[in-house]
């Protein structure tokens, strides 16, 4: 197993290399002149030339690429132009809020989605099923920031149950930390819930039609045991796969959610970098998040053997 994990980890290296090539080519072949954009509207040509030198944009493309890949291989994501510090250390200062948000969203969304999906499949073609499927379509359609402001308006401004915005570090207590994360997790998780609930319902429908479910029912297994132990566990592989693919939704949504709820995380770092045209930060975070996505999906692959022991590595 360990040898297999190591082999798979090594196999992600080519994927990461391709990610690096794609990011580099897309950003460097785009028609805009980053030096001119960064310098702003009132820059002199000398100014622009200076920025171009500083970013190394005056070098030939292949040399820029090799330099950048060399940095990446040493774990250096580049240097912020505005802060003049390594991107990695900026990310290090801000990872906690983002990680907290991601983890609470995962917990909330997966619990909610599995419950809804199992209910819809169990009560297929009833009003329960229709409501869940309708909710799923809605979840795909309402953007993160609209849900976010709606939640803030209802639960924070009107009912005053939860704080409007902001983040409290976990060191200051679990309860204040959680209170600040409830609304952002719901807003960020909505589309993810819709995605997972849909695949859960679809796979559960297939599994519930199997003979061993009829056998379980016939021998009098309690309904909840039948649904969770017999059916859901056998439906796990496609569901886990979609959970892994759907992490892309969370990664994209985190940037917007942190802006709506004023959470000082990695997403905010990127948004602030847009206004300052601090493009090494954006580029570095893209590579970082792509890497996380690849690793999450590797972990998903490895988890198959836990859910389905017939899959062996």
């Amino acid at each position: 197993m360990i040898a297999y994990i190591v082999r798979r980890l090594l196999a992600t290296l080519p994927v990461m290399a391709i990610v690096a090539v794609c990011v580099f080519l897309l950003l460097h072949l785009s028609p805009g002149d980053p030096a001119a954009v960064i310098a702003g509207d009132n820059a002199t040509p000398a100014n622009i030339e200076m920025i171009r030198k500083r970013l190394g944009l005056d070098e030939p493309l292949w040399k820029q690429f090799l330099l950048w890949v060399g940095q990446l291989a040493r774990g250096d994501l580049g240097q912020s132009m505005f802060w003049n510090t390594p991107v990695l250390s900026l990310v290090g200062q801000r990872y906690q809020p983002t990680l907290s948000l991601a983890l609470t969203t995962l917990c909330v969304a997966i619990t909610l989605a599995l419950t809804l999906g199992v209910l819809a499949a169990w009560r297929v073609a009833t009003i329960v099923d229709r409501v869940v499927m309708g909710f799923a379509v809605l979840g795909f359609s309402v953007p993160v920031f609209v849900v976010g402001y709606l939640l803030i308006y209802v639960f924070a401004i009107h009912l005053k149950w939860l704080p409007v915005q902001g983040y409290t570090p976990i060191e200051e207590g679990i309860v204040p930390w959680l209170r600040n994360l409830v609304l952002p997790s719901l807003a960020l998780g909505l589309a993810y819930v819709a995605l997972i609930a849909r695949i859960t319902r679809a796979t559960m429908l297939d599994v519930l039609a199997e003979d061993y479910i009829r056998t379980a029912r016939a021998k009098g297994v309690a309904t909840h045991t039948m649904l969770l132990r017999h059916a859901l566990k056998n439906a796990a592989v496609p569901i886990v796969t979609v959970i892994g693919i759907g992490v892309a939704l969370l990664i994209g949504g985190v940037v917007i959610t942190e802006t709506v709820f004023n959470i000082p995380g990695i997403g905010r770092l990127v948004v602030d970098a847009i206004a300052r045209r601090d493009y090494p930060i954006i580029q570095g975070v893209i590579v970082l998040f792509s890497g996380i996505y690849v690793l999450v999906n590797l972990a998903v692959d490895l988890s198959y053997t836990f859910f389905d022991p017939r899959i062996r590595y």
């Binding site: 391709i18 897309l26 954009v37 309402v142 993160v144 990664i251 994209g252 940037v255 847009i274």
Partner: protein
């Protein structure tokens, strides 16, 4: 869902056009609901200048007025009519939704056909697509917009690039299943050129799934555009879009919730309409996928 119940007894053949329409509506409620919602939004967007007032006219004396007979959607912090701004905001969303769908499909289609048909192309292209899929689309779009001067077309291209791998994978999967069909073997045996086989015998099989995919791409493009505008990485700020209207209003949620509510509602309704249309088309045109979802 309609295709899942082939056993239902077919109703008597309708005799009038009206009757035919009603039967179609009963069998495909999502196509009709989504389609008509979308059609009315497109109508509003196209004829915006003749329907509502000037979205840019400021009237500082009238700032932050709640909805009233004069201003159905109220006014924003510069006294601009929110109804006019919301209706004009539909334009950017529609343009982006349609252009991204057309552009990503016309690029992805050919890459997908080549990858599905030629094994050697497949190995290289699909590795690149995997890499592209791992890059968070909205961040890539942010970077591309931040590096160039903001314009609607930069936004369209920036949203299109991350959508291409999805089209390529879809087309490739269709090609892989179709190329083993006897009629393709027959065409090969008959000595047709590869290009002719692809265009005449394989391309048609990709059209139905692509129509369905086009609606989903439009929906996601409209959402991403709104997100980019909201983050300040979208079209130039002087063009009213639902995203930048919400961004401008976000500090006033407690005082003037209508400045966020109406653009947000329109955004949600349009994306919902496109998604409903997509689900309906999927059930009708692509039963293979419909059965799985």
């Amino acid at each position: 869902m309609t295709s899942a119940s082939p056993t239902t007894i077919a109703p008597k053949a309708p005799t009038t056009t009206m009757g035919a329409l009603l039967v179609f509506a009963r069998r495909n409620p999502t196509i009709v609901i989504g389609g008509s919602l979308l059609a009315s939004m497109v109508f509003l967007a196209v004829f915006a200048p003749w329907i509502v007032g000037d979205p840019l006219a400021m009237a500082p004396a009238n700032r932050l007025r709640p909805p009233s007979a004069d201003h159905l959607f109220g006014t924003d912090h510069l006294g601009r009519d929110m109804l006019a701004r919301t209706v004009f905001g539909a334009r950017v969303s529609m343009i982006v939704g349609v252009s991204v769908a057309i552009l990503s499909i016309s690029i992805g289609l050919w890459i997908g056909l080549a990858a599905g048909y030629y094994r050697r192309v497949d190995a290289i292209v699909m590795r690149f697509m995997d890499g592209l899929m791992a890059i968070p689309g909205i961040l890539l779009a942010i970077a591309l917009v931040a590096l160039t001067k903001a314009s609607v077309w930069v936004v369209v291209v920036a949203i299109t690039i991350p959508e291409i791998p999805r089209v390529v994978r879809l087309v490739r999967s269709v090609v892989l299943s179709v190329r083993e069909q006897p009629y393709v073997d027959a065409a090969v045996a008959g000595g047709s050129r590869a290009s002719k086989i692809i265009v005449r015998h394989i391309l048609p099989a990709t059209i139905n799934p692509l129509i369905v995919q086009a609606t989903y791409i439009s929906a996601s493009a409209i959402l991403v555009e709104a997100g980019l505008s909201f983050l300040g990485a979208g079209v130039p700020p002087e063009i009213p879009t639902w995203g930048n209207m919400i961004a401008a209003a976000r500090g006033r949620l407690g005082v003037a919730p209508w400045t966020i509510f109406f653009p947000g509602l329109c955004l949600a309704v349009v994306v919902l309409a496109v998604n409903l249309l997509g689900d309906g088309l999927r059930d009708r045109l692509d039963p293979r996928i419909a059965r799985r979802m």
